[in-house]
């Protein structure tokens, strides 16, 4: 498995996905070698629940992002080649375009089938191709889909997106939803103590956002909804967890709306703290404008927190409106405020959503199921490995 992010190098959902999938495959008795990039403080080699994790040190750098990407891919490719002297790989599984060159060259060098998981696309993330880098990334993505024997996506909306954009045969794509580690959310936490740590009073209602602070995550729309929520629920307090390049813009937007006392930016939180905070929240908001899956919504559902999410992409497939969560119009602060107010105003309704959501999570979204489905994709790819 080749991925540019794996804990503690956590950027978005890819790290969580690779962590969950690789451990589930190893648990089933498969030998999983995961090649990723180094991260300050993390060992260059370790075994994580049976998964052999190799962190590649990148000795060279370049200010240009695309050149830097090609450089680290070169180092990853070398690492795969070195490991392959002792290990006979059956398949190569690459996650997103960032490690596409390493995966593609390994495929040709080892003569093994390449499987790729497309977590998102450049045209979706950037809402079009507006810069030369975007065109290049789009090209890398197409190249990866072309070279892959099979392509995995986490939702039907993503399947449609890549089918249309890259002109792919539908039968080449498998839909395997993401999953969530339910056990992580089954522990008892002292909600009051956790909330006190973030200076939240017992009477206050905690509205949580978790994600990268980038435009497609829609945080701006949630912040614009804050005054409308405060009108009905002055006790609401918004915590924003995550880092991202639009953070300073979002902070200034919060100030300009005059709600800086009710909105706090916490930055990146380690997993343990994040789980505790999620378990202590009153509502989780996923206001994305573009979301191929939305693993954070699953985490909220597993934690027993009512989820208010945009009716878009994978979120529309995870959440059943008025049954397992509340769907709102993407990019519409009024609709987001309506959804949050609806949950905060009716505790019985909240409980109803939580019960249904937890049941749904247990039925569908387990890493064991994802691993089983992924193995079937590997087997299908191996049937004619040289094609």
């Amino acid at each position: 498995m080749v991925t540019w992010e794996f804990p503690p190098r956590i950027v978005g959902g890819i790290a969580r996905h690779c962590y969950g999938l690789s451990r589930a495959l190893a648990k089933k008795g498969h030998e999983v070698h995961l090649i990723t990039l180094d991260f300050p403080g993390a060992p260059l080699y370790e075994e994580v629940d049976g998964v052999k994790v190799y962190r590649t040190k990148v000795e060279l750098g370049h200010p240009d992002f695309i050149v830097w990407t090609l450089i680290f891919n070169h180092f990853m490719e070398k690492r795969v080649a070195l490991i392959s002297k002792e290990v006979d790989f059956d398949v190569i599984h690459v996650h997103d375009w960032l490690t596409a060159p390493a995966g593609i060259s390994s495929k040709h060098y080892l003569n093994r089938p390449l499987i790729s998981t497309m977590h998102s696309t450049e045209v979706g993330r950037a809402q079009g191709l507006h810069t030369p880098d975007s065109y290049l990334i789009d090209g890398f993505e197409w190249w990866l889909t072309y070279e892959s024997k099979r392509i995995i996506v986490a939702s039907y909306s993503m399947k449609r997106e890549i089918e249309d954009h890259f002109r792919l045969p539908p039968e080449k794509i498998d839909v395997i939803p993401n999953a969530v580690d339910v056990e992580q959310y089954q522990r008892n936490v002292d909600r009051e103590a956790v909330r006190a740590r973030y200076m939240i009073g017992g009477h206050e209602r905690l509205v949580l956002f978790v994600g990268r602070l980038v435009p497609q995550k829609g945080v701006e729309h949630m912040i614009r909804a804050v005054p409308m929520v405060l009108k009905e629920h002055p006790e609401a307090i918004f915590l924003i967890v995550g880092e991202g390049w639009s953070k300073s813009y979002l902070e200034s937007l919060t100030r300009s709306l005059g709600c800086e006392s009710r909105v706090r930016f916490l930055g990146f939180l380690p997993d343990r703290d994040l789980v505790e905070l999620t378990l202590s929240a009153d509502v989780l908001v996923v206001p994305s404008s573009y979301e191929p899956f939305g693993i954070v919504a699953l985490e909220g559902m597993a934690a027993g927190v009512p989820v208010v999410a945009s009716n878009t992409g994978g979120l529309s497939e995870i959440i059943e409106h008025d049954r397992t969560g509340v769907l709102v119009y993407p990019g519409d602060p009024q609709s987001i405020a309506w959804g949050i107010n609806r949950v905060l105003s009716d505790r019985e309704y909240s409980k109803y959503l939580i019960q249904n959501a937890k049941r749904r999570i247990a039925e569908i979204y387990s890493w064991d199921v994802v691993a089983e489905k992924t193995l079937k994709v590997y087997e299908a790819a191996e049937e004619n490995p040289r094609k």
Partner: protein
């Protein structure tokens, strides 16, 4: 639906460059002159960007042998990676 994209600040691009040239750990930290050469920027421009990013804890400075050297912090790395994922 279309996403309104706010302009990316210059210092964020600078932070990305510093990350991509490998200054991501104290032992790989670089001086203003070294950064200026590797990024083909004017040293005064480098200094101004470093000042802003150090203030927001995305970059850390340390003095080695009388020279100030800079590297991207963990928070800085996360900010950079958010651009690319």
């Amino acid at each position: 639906m279309k996403v309104r994209i706010p302009p990316i600040p210059d210092e964020t691009y600078f932070l990305c460059m510093l990350h991509n040239i490998g200054a991501t750990m104290p032992e790989r930290s670089l001086s203003i002159e070294e950064i200026a050469v590797r990024t083909a920027m004017d040293p005064s421009e480098v200094e101004e960007n470093l000042r802003k990013l150090t203030a927001s804890n995305y970059i850390e400075a340390r003095v080695v042998g009388g020279t100030k050297r800079y590297h991207v912090t963990l928070n800085g790395i996360r900010k950079v990676l958010s651009m690319y994922s």
